[in-house]
């Protein structure tokens, strides 16, 4: 296992050693020191509303159950029977009184406390474990569920820091703040390191190249319809065209990174350029609903926030403005899976959610024109990093020109700065050297 001094040598201000993407020993250490310590995004409260509601997910490589223990309290439990190690639950989601292990019937209450052990006379009762191992820290920020496998560490609000504003945007856009996960889950996988996805989601220099083919075909597509005359294809065409924005647009975008390695991109696109453009009857009805609850001024402020991706390091990337959230599950040094969720604003016009679904298909769909090219490139990068002939990968775009802002935030000199990758690796090194 790499000593801490060696780790420091792998991550330099403007370059990183290929082994951080390719060495299985470093991957194991990442699972222990990064995914074992950081707050991880697990999901949303709408996935476990009522007592007994649960869903299964992963924290890094650990299988977990997220369960509504009581009306007030969520528990996150390691999904592994304390008896012989079987996954206690594989259903994905549901509602239970008890979790019953399929192997010998050991059963646990909603908080994971061991209740029933068949053939109990064979055991020394005092030596039986208390129950499923509980993940020590669970917290919720504005409906989003987080947990940490570490007993101690910074609190959630400190961890999120200025990135809280992206979650605020997500919730504030929903009339009455009511969001729910809906519309199915994409689970896309690639033969590449987990970090590659997080490094791509704020990369304004890649669309012109990676997405050249989808930009080209979208430019040749029929024109999207005006307000009230939308076609089904408009959202896909608009979104693919947007990836072909001129260099000057990408350079002008705001890009900010936070001390814990989170980052977000602003000013990329307004609703007007995309989903149910402003002026469309549906969007106007939505705006009215928002204004009815909050007043026209506040509604206007909310709708002027234009955030593209926000990356929450190390396991999440989301789009508050377009209600998409991806949770990253590293599988191996060269294999990763991202689960993508869409959110419905419960009190918005029904068409708003249909637009979200169409948007999800083109941006996060496993068969998308766009995402498939990203996945292809991740795999090519992984193959390249397998080569020992060249040691370093560069993360130096805009290096030396990052601007310091309050609360430890750094802003890239341009929208194509790699400031966010440098911030991710600064966080990487801190977690890995602790």
């Amino acid at each position: 296992m790499a000593a801490d001094e060696q780790l420091t040598m792998l991550v330099q201000p403007d370059r990183v050693h290929r082994s951080v993407y390719a060495d299985p020993a470093i991957f194991d250490l990442e699972m222990e020191r990064i995914f074992g310590r950081a707050w991880l995004v697990l999901g949303h409260e709408s996935q476990a509303r009522n007592p007994g509601d649960y869903f299964t997910t992963r924290m890094g490589r650990e299988p977990v159950l997220v369960v509504r223990k009581t009306t007030e309290e969520l528990a996150v439990l390691i999904n592994r029977c304390v008896h012989r190690g079987a996954l206690v639950c594989t259903e994905g989601r549901g509602n239970v009184e008890r979790f019953v292990c399929p192997y010998h019937g050991w059963s646990y209450d909603r908080g994971g406390i061991l209740q029933v052990v068949p053939f109990a006379s064979g055991y020394d009762k005092d030596k039986l474990p208390e129950g499923l191992k509980a993940v020590p820290r669970v917290a919720v920020y504005r409906g989003f569920i987080f947990a940490s496998l570490a007993k101690s560490g910074p609190g959630l609000e400190e961890f999120l820091g200025p990135a809280k504003a992206s979650f605020d945007d997500f919730v504030d856009r929903a009339p009455g703040g009511e969001l729910e996960v809906a519309g199915g889950v994409f689970k896309h996988a690639y033969n590449g390191n987990w970090k590659l996805m997080l490094e791509n989601h704020l990369d304004g220099a890649h669309p012109a190249w990676v997405h050249a083919s989808s930009v080209a075909v979208a430019r040749g597509a029929p024109e999207p319809g005006g307000p009230g005359q939308e076609h089904y294809y408009d959202i896909a065409v608009r979104q693919m065209r947007q990836n072909g924005a001129p260099d000057a647009v990408w350079e002008a975008i705001g890009l900010w990174a936070t001390p814990y390695g989170h980052a977000y991109m602003g000013d990329y696109h307004s609703d007007e350029r995309l989903v149910a453009g402003m002026g469309s009857p549906v969007f106007e009805e939505y705006r009215k609903q928002l204004a009815g609850r909050l007043g026209a001024k506040e509604a206007d402020r909310i709708l002027r926030v234009t955030l593209w991706n926000t990356v929450i390091y190390p396991n999440c990337s989301f789009m508050s403005q377009f209600r998409q959230l991806r949770i990253l599950h590293p599988v191996a040094v060269d294999r990763s899976v991202a689960y993508t969720y869409s959110f419905r604003m419960k009190k918005a016009p029904a068409q708003m959610f249909r637009d979200t679904v169409a948007f999800a298909n083109v941006v996060n769909g496993t068969g998308s024109w766009v995402l498939t090219d990203d996945l292809e490139v991740y795999e090519r990068i992984q193959k390249g990093f397998a080569s020992g002939a060249v040691d370093w990968a560069y993360i130096g775009r805009g290096h030396g020109r990052d601007a310091d802002e309050p609360h430890g935030v750094r802003r890239g000199a341009t929208g194509t700065s790699e400031v966010y990758i440098r911030a991710q690796f600064a966080a990487w090194l801190r977690y890995m050297s602790q």
Partner: protein
């Protein structure tokens, strides 16, 4: 009865052969102007507007998919994967004077970048009669692993 079954089967084989010989533009021409091509995400999915889909294309989007496959910088598509579509269990489900609804099964082998993938699906076509042959008004492909963790899908089914 036999004549109809034969014509439907021959049409589905023809469709598969166009894909397997990479005649994508000719394949696109099999679809009506208001056709839909659908790979649902969920088992038994009823609706493509309220739930996401692996692919849900109207004719405009399907045309973009075919055009993208020919683009020199379509990284996930150039070179095109080689495929073999094995169509089976062809059954006419219902018919009217203008349309035939057909169920079939599909096994598909895909090869690209030193990797072979095997797909299996339940397929449903809604075919419009045009003279002695058909046009596809709707094609639904329910992959057996649609809800699984899937690498990118860049082929046509």
């Amino acid at each position: 009865m036999n004549g109809k079954q034969f014509r439907v089967e021959q049409f589905l084989y023809h469709e598969a052969r166009l894909l397997d010989t990479q005649q994508l533009e000719a394949w696109l021409e099999l679809f009506t102007e208001d056709a839909t091509y659908w790979l649902p995400l969920e088992q038994g999915q009823k609706d493509a507007l309220e739930t996401s889909s692996l692919v849900h294309d109207d004719r405009t989007l399907l045309a973009l998919r075919v055009r993208q496959a020919r683009h020199p910088r379509a990284h996930a598509r150039q070179p095109l994967a080689r495929t073999v579509h094995q169509v089976g269990n062809v059954m006419v489900l219902s018919e009217s004077s203008s349309e035939v609804r057909v169920a079939s099964t599909l096994q598909l082998v895909e090869f690209r970048s030193e990797r072979q993938r095997l797909w299996a699906a339940l397929v449903e076509h809604r075919l419009q009669r045009t003279g002695e042959t058909f046009k596809i008004a709707h094609k639904r492909v329910d992959l057996a692993n649609s809800e699984g963790e899937l690498d990118g899908i860049a082929i046509l089914f």
